[in-house]
Structure formats: structure tokens, C-alpha cells
Symmetry: C2
Subunit: 143 residues, 2 copies
DNA sequence: CAGGATCCGTTTCGATACTG
DNA sequence: CAGTATCGAAACGGATCCTG
């Protein structure tokens, strides 16, 4: 599966257009969430985690996100087989978007993960700073 | 095309899961943007506008969003042919999400619509309040 | 004419099996 | 471990048709 270019044409310059092109599918945001909130970094972690993404789709999405500059990949120096994925600054910049989505879902729908929601509610800026700091120190997954 | 239920199963209770299920496609967020920022309300406006969505897809998305409680529809009292779509409080609650997405795209990508971006940057809370107010007064599109 | 439904070819998805 | 290959199923998109 080659790195997709959408078949449909989209007028650019309109707000949100670019965002939706990069993130408007069922998996991209979830992958980013796993990196940002759960500290996942390897193909296997994404694969075994959460919503059971198929391996071909995962490979496609990782490549796509990398092409968009949202994530970066590098070979694990200590284990040549492993590939380590990480968020770029641009990817990290999505933290406020994810945060607002979590709050929205919590307000109207989702009952899960109340701890996180309360944490964000109590101190949104602090939470965002914490996310950034984890990635500034590079790769301490944080559970 | 019946109102879709996703074929894949998704574990619930995980943050963002619900959001992505409702909004994780190429059109839903754009439709909401058009309602929220451009004041669009009718089938035809959505159809002729922006990125040239196909009418069957549009009908499906409108139904989906209505089923999720994000938008509501009612017949135009002054013109029986027309259907008027509007944001519910839940849909309006997406304003912060959209706002952050616009800011993110502006910071890393999109060059279009600088005016809006500057407005949001200057006074994010004021902008959100303004959006809410427009819909509290119901239906003054606001260009 | 507005809102949508139907038809149909094309693209993408997703599960599983398989490879370097 | 990190992906490819394959293939049936689903979703997409364009065009057209239907209905009030």
C-alpha cells in the first residue's frame, strides 16, 4: 500500500482543510494519542494496543504522518531491528487539539478515563506543559 | 446509503475513541466548520460550497451527525421545501476543538484565512464567546 | 427547484497470511 | 520486529433520477 494521496481534490486555503487532510481518518489521531499520552514508540506497541489496527493500515498511516512531518522515525541504536517513532514539534503541537477533543468527549459522551479528564480540567496548561516536557527529555514514555 | 455503523469494532472508554468515531472522516468536521464559521444551514449550501462533497455522502454525513446529536434538522417554516440544519449544544461544544485545529494548521501549514487566525490569536476566548452568541440568537449567519 | 435516493465503477479498508 | 501481499468487503464519488 503506497503512501496515499487522496483521490478527491480539495480547495486549499480554507481553514481546517489542511488539518482534515492530514488527520481526517479513523486512525491518525489515535496513533498520535498513543504517542503523546501513552508514550508508545514502536510498530508493535501500536499494533497490539488500543483498537486493533491492521498492520498494513498502520504502516500506511505511519508513513503518511511522517510525510506530513507530524512524526519522525529512526532506527533504535541498541536494537537494529527496532524502529522508533517519535513526535516532531509539529506533532507535539497537536496537544491542544487532542486535549480539547478529550474534554469534549468527556462532556458529552465518553465515560472512560475520568482521571485524565479531571487532570486536564484542573490544570489544562499544566497538563500541556507536562506533555511537552516529557518529549523535551526525549523518550521517557511515562507509563 | 444507510446511516453508517462502522464495521470495525472499537474499544470504548479510551480517550478520543468516541470523538474519532464521530468525527474521524473527511467530511464531518468540514460540515461543522461550515455551520459554525460560515453560518451554512441548508443542504444546498453545503453541497455547492467548499470541497464539492457528493450529495449522497452529504446526506449520509448529515444523518450521521444528527444521530450523534451534533446537529439537528427542522423544516423551514417559511419554505416547506427547505430543511434547516443547526448545531446542537453538543455540536457547538466542538468550537474549541476547531479553534485549536485552525491555530495548529496556521502555525505549521495553511497560509489561507489569516484574518481569522489573527482574530483567534488575539482573543481566543472572545472568539469562542462570539460563536456561541451567534447561535444563541439563532441563525444570524454572520457571513 | 430543494433535498435526497439510486446506480455503478473506483478507491480504500481491514483481516490474515506471509517475508526480510 | 517491522513491515508486504493478497483479496473480499466496505466506502467513496460522480452522475443521474426521483419526489414534493
Amino acid at each position: 500500500m503506497p503512501a496515499r494521496k487522496p483521490a478527491y481534490k480539495r480547495r486549499s486555503g480554507c481553514p481546517l482543510n489542511a488539518s482534515v487532510e492530514m488527520l481526517g481518518d479513523r486512525w491518525s489521531l489515535l496513533i498520535i494519542r498513543d504517542m503523546m499520552l501513552l508514550g508508545y514508540r514502536t510498530f508493535k506497541e501500536f499494533l497490539n494496543s488500543h483498537e486493533r489496527i491492521a498492520s498494513n493500515i498502520l504502516a500506511d498511516r505511519l508513513l503518511r504522518l511522517e510525510n506530513y512531518g507530524i512524526i519522525a522515525s529512526a532506527r533504535d541504536p541498541s536494537d537494529g531491528r527496532k524502529q522508533i517513532y517519535s513526535l516532531t514539534p509539529k506533532g507535539l503541537g497537536l496537544a491542544p487539539v487532542l486535549t480539547e477533543m478529550v474534554l469534549w468527549a468527556a462532556a458529552y459522551e465518553d465515560t472512560g478515563n475520568q482521571a485524565l479528564v479531571r487532570l486536564i480540567h484542573k490544570d489544562k496548561d499544566g497538563f500541556l506543559a507536562q506533555v511537552r516536557k516529557r518529549f523535551a527529555n526525549r523518550s521517557s514514555p511515562g507509563k
